[in-house]
């Protein structure tokens, strides 16, 4: 088991299972106030989010999120040595095991959930009881003054950080079965002019993973801890562990204890109090019996809480040095909207004209646009050239297509440029222009599935579903889409193109059924762009999947087609034909009572 001094010696990293923003923020505030250069929270395991934004001091930081503990990349995983499990009682068991399977060298952690079944607790004790320090289930976690805070322990408000003097290295160990009383005692220690060396809330459950003996041993062996303040309750027999340890001289530091539960004597029957364990089942579990047993071995165990505080105040206080933290400035901090970068770095303005001559800058717009979209520098000319080619080819496809029609109709209704453009853009979707992204997803799935094309097509088209990226109304086998051929030539520029190859395999399967089911322009763009990003720009499968989730591939259509829509708008404004009305002969109107007559006839 790790010692407290080892914890103090080097930076500790915590992986959060689940997300509890209040607790995570309080840990970052603690870290900042301790003067750490980076937060102890390494990452969160939580679905649906890629990152979570928290304050670190006055500024903000992004804590990365992953779906599974095994998804944490090696560079981050190497920093993890503690678990903070804030998942519910139903998931606490499985998630704890998954964590220690992935991080078998981790020192321990805290399970926050209440309602973890006893059977799960005893199984966790069997697995980790002897090797890890685990606070809970339930309670509020672990605190090492000035170094480590895992959980809500010591509070979650900025003012509490200062009031409890949590960032000072102290000399008193605070150990408690109750989460609330842990914090009460931490506050009391600070108010008495003393500081906490270490604190742990064992939790009010029947079977805490780290036992009271484990925790007391930690305090006993810690050179900075001079004495122990303990809060216990009626119910259970944990306090007899203290008695045994003192008798066996395994615990030699002075213990000051308050055992709550004298109130139980006011009732006819033993009462179940708040914590699972807080019920007197046998005589020796009463508060009075436990106090007396503790006193018999020399523990100071006052009758009343005010007496307990007086005894605390009288304890000798070793010297300590408070760290001054300017918390006031933190209280006014405000959340920002996430933006981690300037989309296009224009610190260096390019030279466009030099010596009376135009400076030739090849595909400069396409390059800058792709860099902005991808969020990184584009290394390969092939990538830029493909981007340029797509932008060029997709500017317009005539006035018949639905987006152009909507732009024109809106323009003729007297609307402005942005409104007309928006009408066109809003038409983009699964049936018009918006299929590039879904096609990319299809090729990613296909390659990742390692399935043969026929089987893949069979599965994907079950129930009459369409494969996006395949099929054209006009072009077919024998009348190829010239744009597809032009873009496909890019495949000759680099070696590996698994997505493109797979798309062609799929096309073989689909065209065997129907000659119109050819690889279309959306499909070929998506496939080749995926391959180029992987091959020339070093994108990983995961990064490609992220681009699909962020609809990057649809942007390849939206950008050039915006130019096309605007052109249609300008043309309409120039000609100004007035309000458009659909000609009567183009509108098929069914008479309202047609069906009714039919029905009557049948009757």
């Amino acid at each position: 088991m790790i010692t407290l001094n080892d914890i103090r010696k080097k930076p500790q990293g915590v992986l959060v299972l689940g997300n509890h923003p209040g607790i995570v923020q309080s840990i970052l505030d603690f870290d900042y106030a301790c003067g750490k250069s980076e937060p102890s929270i390494v990452a969160c395991i939580t679905s649906n989010r890629k990152s979570l934004k928290f304050f670190f001091g006055k500024g903000e930081v992004l804590i990365p999120c992953f779906q599974k503990v095994t998804d944490v990349p090696q560079a981050l995983a190497a920093k993890v040595n503690w678990m903070l499990n804030v998942q519910s009682g139903r998931r606490a068991f499985d998630s704890t095991i998954a964590f220690f399977d992935a991080f078998s060298d981790a020192y321990g952690g805290h399970i926050f959930a209440e309602n973890v079944p006893e059977r799960h607790e005893t199984e966790l004790i069997k697995k980790y009881g002897n090797t890890k320090i685990i606070a809970g289930p339930s309670g509020v976690g672990i605190l090492v003054g000035g170094h480590l805070k895992i959980g809500a322990i010591g509070g979650t408000g900025l003012a509490q950080l200062e009031q409890g003097k949590l960032v000072t290295e102290g000399s008193i160990a605070v150990i408690s079965t109750s989460g609330g009383m842990t914090n009460e005692l931490i506050t009391d220690v600070a108010l008495a002019g003393k500081r906490v060396s270490f604190s742990l809330a064992i939790g009010g459950d029947r079977f805490p993973i780290s036992s009271l003996t484990d925790i007391l041993t930690l305090a006993e062996e810690d050179p900075q801890t001079t004495m122990i303040a303990y809060f216990g309750e009626l119910g259970g027999v944990d306090e007899y562990e203290i008695v045994e340890m003192i008798k066996e001289k395994k615990l030699t530091k002075p213990v000051l204890a308050y055992i709550a539960g004298i109130i139980d004597e006011a009732f006819d029957e033993h009462m179940q109090f708040g914590h699972a364990k807080a019920l007197v089942a046998r005589k020796d579990e009463s508060a009075r019996a436990k106090r007396e047993a503790l006193r018999a071995v020399g523990v100071t165990a006052p009758d009343t809480f005010p007496e307990f505080l007086e005894a605390l105040a009288k304890l000798p206080t070793p010297e300590f040095h408070d760290r001054v933290v300017a918390m006031d400035s933190l209280a006014k901090r405000q959340k920002s909207i996430l933006s981690t970068r300037e989309v296009v770095d224009m610190d260096e303005i390019p030279t466009f004209v030099k010596g009376g001559k135009i400076v030739k800058r090849e595909n400069a717009f396409a390059k800058k646009a792709l860099e902005a979209l991808l969020g990184r520098e584009v290394k390969s000319d092939v990538t830029v050239a493909l981007g340029e080619a797509i932008f060029e080819l997709l500017i317009d496809h005539g006035g018949h297509v639905s987006g152009a029609v909507n732009t024109m109709i809106t323009a003729r209704a007297g609307k402005d440029l942005v409104s007309s453009l928006a009408a066109g853009l809003l038409t983009i979707g699964p049936r018009f222009g918006g299929a590039v992204n879904e096609a990319a997803r299809t090729w990613i799935d296909g390659v990742a599935s390692k399935k043969e094309a026929p089987q893949f097509v069979e599965e994907k088209t079950k129930g009459g579903k369409l494969l996006l990226g395949i099929g054209h109304l006009k072009y077919r086998i024998g009348i190829p889409d010239p744009r597809v051929g032009a873009i496909a030539e890019f495949a000759s520029l680099f070696k590996n193109h698994p997505h493109y190859d797979f798309a062609r395999e799929v096309e073989k399967v689909t065209t065997a059924k129907n000659g119109n089911l050819i690889l279309n322009v959306d499909g070929v763009m998506a496939a080749l762009f995926l391959d180029i990003l992987a091959e020339e720009e070093g994108f990983t499968d995961k990064e490609l999947a992220e681009l699909v989730d962020a609809e990057f591939f649809n942007a390849l259509f939206v950008i050039p087609r915006t130019v096309g829509f605007i052109s249609h708008f300008i043309e309409q404004k120039k000609n100004d034909e007035g309000l458009f009305r659909l000609p009567d002969e183009l509108l098929y109107v069914r008479k309202v009572n047609e069906n009714v007559v039919d029905k009557k006839g049948k009757q």
Binding site: E114, A152, G180, I263
Partner: protein
């Protein structure tokens, strides 16, 4: 969260499966026709199945009855307020055959206590009791050897115990004929936290302590709809000290102080709102306690809103909920001379205390109010002084 009694019917059904022939009777006991059809040479045993201890002594078991006699017994028990019964075929045996067996989940596994003689008081005769802790599969054989119970029976029993999230099982008496075990009487406590995982038992199979007071019932219903903890126990409807406690450990410390100052009998209620309840939930909870306070005929009454230094419960938010409830009855509270005493700390402490102080001052209800820099027991001390002043 805690260990809860399972009905004997469900316990035996889980342990014995389809071979169990007991019949659970919940409503009027009118449909006893199957009894005659099923038949039993020796008749039936009828008993109350509501987790009552020492049923035999209390006359809540009838042995060797037929359908008509069973009906009579049920009718008599219903008059005593019971509503759940069990009928089992009578199992003839000698008293000398009766053994005692219990299983309890402990830190390092399952502790088995066994006594050859089922009639003895287990606690007062430790020498007659064999105790074995089973930590792994391989310990079962050892346990069988030590207790001389059939190994397969112990194996199956432990499997049922673990699979179904039992916390405690007592079979007394247990009859063993060869490898065949018969459970004449079985009491089971299940771990309520296992409810989600255990498919074999549900809400309906748990024996609940009857809510003694309407307010307790309402708080129970409210608690079922939130992840926060809301509990209420009415201890003395004519009490003087009414508590709005926030959190397990701190509430016991404060209640202790009342007991130590000789005011234990003045305590009207115990319970807590904790685990970050919303303003609305706190409002509804506080309303129940205030209603209890108004209904008490004690001359001097005080409301104590007290707790430790919270870790993550927002003080301003929960206090706003309490103020919502107090505003509804402020006039009445003032009329009865009720004072409110407060001690609380935690996130948003300053704002919460300020809000409360302002409200109580305006409504002339303020007894005293303290934050985390004053000892946790101060508010209850002040409250006791207030209620004892004239009474």
């Amino acid at each position: 969260m805690s260990r809860v009694k399972l009905t004997e019917y469900r316990a035996k059904k889980i342990i014995l499966g389809d071979s169990y022939r007991g019949i659970s009777i919940r409503s009027d006991g009118g449909k006893l026709a199957p009894l005659e059809a099923k038949g039993s040479l020796m008749g039936w045993v009828a008993k109350v199945d509501q987790g009552v201890k020492k049923r035999m002594k209390q006359g809540l078991v009838a042995i060797g009855v037929d359908a008509a006699k069973a009906k009579e017994a049920f009718a008599a028990w219903r008059k005593k307020g019971f509503s759940q019964f069990l009928l089992e075929p009578l199992f003839p045996h000698e008293a000398s055959e009766e053994q005692y067996l219990s299983l309890e989940r402990v830190r390092d596994g399952v502790r088995i206590l066994h006594a050859r003689d089922g009639g003895i008081e287990i606690e007062s005769h430790p020498e007659a009791v064999t105790s074995v802790v089973v930590s792994s599969e391989s310990d079962i054989a050892k346990a069988a050897q030590a207790t001389k119970l059939p190994e397969q029976f112990l194996h199956d029993l432990l499997k049922a115990f673990n699979d179904n999230f039992f916390a405690f099982l007592e079979i007394n008496p247990l009859i063993i004929h060869g490898d065949e075990a018969t459970l004449l009487d079985a009491a089971v406590l299940v771990d309520s936290a296992g409810a989600f995982f255990a498919k074999s038992w549900g809400e309906d199979d748990l024996v609940k302590a009857q809510a003694q007071h309407k307010a307790e019932e309402r708080v129970e219903a409210l608690a079922a709809t939130t992840p926060a903890q809301l509990t209420l126990k009415v201890l003395n409807t004519e009490g003087s000290l009414f508590f709005l406690f926030s959190g397990g450990g701190g509430s016991i410390v404060i209640a202790d102080e009342a007991q130590l100052q000789g005011a234990g009998d003045l305590i009207a209620n115990y319970g807590e709102y904790s685990g970050g309840p919303t303003r609305e939930e706190t409002h509804l909870y506080a309303r129940e306690v205030i209603a209890l306070l108004l209904a008490s005929s004690a001359k001097k009454k005080a409301l104590v809103i007290a707790g430790g230094v919270a870790n993550f419960t927002d003080i301003a938010k929960t206090f706003a909920g309490i103020i919502d409830a107090l505003s509804e009855s402020a006039d009445k509270l003032r009329k009865y001379g009720v004072k409110v005493f407060v001690r609380r700390g935690g996130p948003n402490e300053k704002a919460g205390l300020e809000l409360m102080r302002e409200f109580l001052t305006k409504e002339k209800l303020l007894g005293s109010i303290y934050g985390s820099d004053i000892v946790i027991t101060k508010a209850v001390e002040d409250a006791i002084r207030h209620v004892k002043m004239t009474s």
